[in-house]
């Protein structure tokens, strides 16, 4: 390029850059004008990319389904959604949550799926006191050591869903087990809970295997499981990772020789992709595909009609998050600033969920039945109740 040409493009570039910066500066500095005061701003911070993308979508779909069932209004107010993809990245969690609360000024913060990301959101929730509902992440601390009046959960704690598994495995005659999962907050909490429950009934964990999240190269570790020769394998995986693990486990011939167990995330929302590899697997979870509750039948019909997909446990949790919010808002006639009233209303409520009725513990977590399910076709069929009205121990929570 000749010198003149270079100079010309530089001048042009500088002018455009100056103009652009001025525009940007103007846009950034302009005071944030909130449109109509009547619309309630819901911040949806969920994963829409990566291994948990399907979960984020299911939660969003069901949340909006409930709102639609209520005629588009909760507590008499219309809703406006601010959607943010958290990419299941704990490093950006605080930034993302702070952006929703400080810049976008959401009235309610709904999210998320990944436990590590959740802890960032909890930090922001506690600092800003924004009303928050957790539609999935099971990090115990959110309704444990870091519990707060403005934080509720419509899903589960990691401890709750897997605690009954040890008892189930023992009853089926498996006296030794191997454990495998991702090494992050959720995986470790699952392990502690499983270990507690399994060892209490006399079980022995002969091998503990971990891989970094969200790694899905299982080959070397599957070989290790075979080498350890346990009676069964217990695991925790979810989303895309669960699909791959079940298939790989089967392809390595382990499904026949060393039965696989896990909590329900292993087989929820993943059965179509897993196909034959998942058939017959037993899992424990607070939801199943063939429950007889009228509310569940109605929910499944509506969800399938609206989204042309079968709902899963994530959808149920999203639906219940909206339900809990509605209960709170109705009690204060839509005045989201009257937080004490909202909190009191939700705490006292019995939620009529597709999973069955549940209440809220003092730490703001659901107290509910955990079911035993078995995969049959493309469904997790209800087999029995693994544990009735299980409450998370909420260790370290100072509320109530």
């Amino acid at each position: 390029m000749s010198g003149n040409k270079l100079q010309f493009s530089r001048r042009k570039f500088l002018k455009t850059a100056a103009g652009g910066t001025a525009l940007a500066a103007g846009a950034l500095h302009a005071p944030f004008i909130i449109a109509q005061p009547a619309k309630l701003k819901i911040g949806l911070m969920l994963p829409y990319t990566g291994t948990f993308a399907a979960l984020g979508n299911a939660i969003t779909n069901a949340f909006k389904l409930y709102v639609a069932e209520k005629g588009g209004k909760l507590g008499g107010r219309e809703l406006e959604y601010v959607v943010l993809d958290d990419e299941s990245d704990p490093a950006k969690a605080v930034d993302n949550a702070a952006r929703l609360v400080n810049r976008d000024k959401v009235d309610v913060l709904v999210g998320t799926v990944h436990s590590g990301v959740q802890m960032g959101m909890v930090k922001v929730s506690r600092e800003t006191n924004v009303l928050s509902i957790i539609p999935n992440a099971g990090a115990g601390a959110a309704t444990g050591q870091l519990c707060a009046p403005n934080i509720f959960r419509s899903s589960f704690t990691n401890w709750q869903t897997i605690h009954p598994l040890g008892k189930v495995m023992m009853e089926k005659g498996h006296k030794t087990a191997a454990w495998i999962s991702w090494k992050y907050a959720a995986g470790e909490e699952m392990f502690q809970s499983f270990k507690e429950g399994y060892e209490k009934v006399g079980g022995k964990i002969v091998k503990e295997l971990w891989l970094p999240f969200p790694n899905v190269e299982f080959q070397a570790l599957l070989t290790e499981i075979a080498a350890a020769k346990p009676s069964a394998t217990a695991c925790f995986f979810a989303g895309g990772g669960a699909v791959k693990f079940v298939k790989d486990y089967d392809a390595a011939g382990l499904k026949k020789s060393i039965p696989l167990y896990g909590n329900g995330f292993l087989t929820d929302g993943t059965l179509q992709a897993q196909g034959a590899s998942a058939q017959g697997l037993f899992t424990t979870l607070h939801y199943a595909d063939s429950l007889e509750f009228p509310k569940d039948k109605e929910f499944r019909l509506n969800y399938a009609k609206t989204y042309k997909l079968q709902p899963d446990v994530y959808a149920v949790q999203g639906y219940d998050a909206a339900q809990m919010l509605a209960i709170g808002l109705e009690a204060v006639k839509g005045d989201v600033k009257a937080q004490k009233g909202i909190v009191a209303a939700i705490e006292k409520a019995t939620i009529n969920s597709p999973r069955g009725r549940f209440t809220i513990s003092k730490a703001h977590n659901p107290v509910m039945d955990i079911y035993l399910r078995q995969v049959s076709g493309e469904q997790n069929k209800f087999v029995g109740v693994a544990w009735k009205a299980l409450a998370d121990p909420a260790r370290g929570c100072k509320m109530g």
Binding site: R10, A27, A185
Partner: protein, 316 residues
């Protein structure tokens, strides 16, 4: 001191005034955003010392940054504040030590191999932190209260207030900038620049180039540690990603984009990249496309970085 083009000096002075005045008009989110940009600027300046002046391209600079951040986390009790000077001193000390150890090992190599070995050490630190339980693993750990400074009962500033933090960061950035300009104009600085141009010649002239490079490497590490301490204190979160090659890579982008080997280049680069990121994010979900496009165009059209744009009058 080498005279910078008048246009640039005017812009920088205006920038400083604007920055000082900003917290009075900006709202919390944006004040905190600019604070973060300033922290990145300090980080970028530290890398420029290596890349632009000494000619050492490091892809593992985030190592010092991240280790300093984790030091602050370890020194902060669960729900209380760490001491301002003690934690800062410890963080800078750890950063310096890490840079010293790594520098002694890697400065024997050069060119592409230097890049790769620095990358290796950066990644080693990343995986060490990522895989360790005590340090919070892949989820990282939180710092619930910011470091506090108290001199005989008087608190000159409270870092938990976002405006105070802003001014502390601004003061540190200005301090680093001016200190570096003085350093680079000194005989030490001349040697460093000479090493970048032709190390062999410098050695022939009798300079112990390895020692100069090592001092530079450690100094850059200390400044990166300062940025790391500030980042951890500001965000209240330490995470292995702070040590990843992505972090080092993004930093390198800022330095190159802004203009290497110029005192203000890295500051411009940091500001440009972060502001563009924020702007593009608010336009579309696919903002990375715009950012990537901008970077590609910038490389092709303004090879010497944004600081080059201010030289147009001189070339006239």
């Amino acid at each position: 001191m080498e005279r910078q083009p008048l246009a640039l000096r005017i812009v920088l002075a205006a920038g400083l005034v604007a920055l000082a005045a900003f917290p009075f008009v900006g709202e919390k989110f944006y004040v905190q955003f600019v604070t973060k940009v300033m922290i990145w600027a300090i980080f970028a300046v530290s890398l420029d010392l290596l890349v632009g002046y000494t000619g050492l391209v490091s892809l593992g600079h985030a190592l010092s940054y991240g280790l300093a951040a984790y030091t602050l986390m370890l020194l902060t009790p669960q729900y209380e504040a760490a001491g301002f000077w003690t934690s800062l001193g410890a963080s800078l000390g750890v950063a310096a030590l890490a840079a010293l150890v790594v520098g002694l090992l890697v400065l024997r190599t050069s060119g592409i191999y230097f890049i790769m070995v620095t990358l290796a050490f950066g990644q080693m630190a990343y995986y060490y932190v990522h895989d360790s339980d005590r340090l919070g693993g892949s989820d990282g750990k939180y710092i619930y209260v910011r470091p506090a400074l108290e001199i005989a009962g008087w608190k000159p500033f409270d870092l938990d207030q976002f405006t105070h933090f802003y001014y502390v960061a601004l003061a540190l950035l200005a301090g680093v900038y001016f200190a570096l300009r003085v350093l680079l104009a000194s005989p030490f600085g001349r040697v460093i620049v000479g090493i970048k141009e032709n190390e062999h010649r410098m050695r022939m002239l009798g300079f112990a180039t390895f020692r100069y490079k090592l001092v530079c490497f450690v100094l850059a590490g200390v400044l990166a540690g300062l940025a790391g301490w500030l980042a951890a204190a500001h965000d209240g979160l330490v995470n292995p990603e702070m040590l990843s090659w992505h972090q080092s890579g993004q930093l390198l982008m800022m330095v190159i984009l802004g203009g290497m080997g110029t005192p203000s280049g890295p500051i411009l680069g940091a500001a440009a990249l972060k502001v563009l990121e924020l702007l593009f994010q608010s336009w579309t979900k696919h903002w990375q496309l715009l950012l990537g496009g901008f970077i590609v165009l910038a490389v092709l059209l303004i090879p010497r970085g944004l600081a080059q744009l201010f030289e147009w009058k001189r070339r006239g």
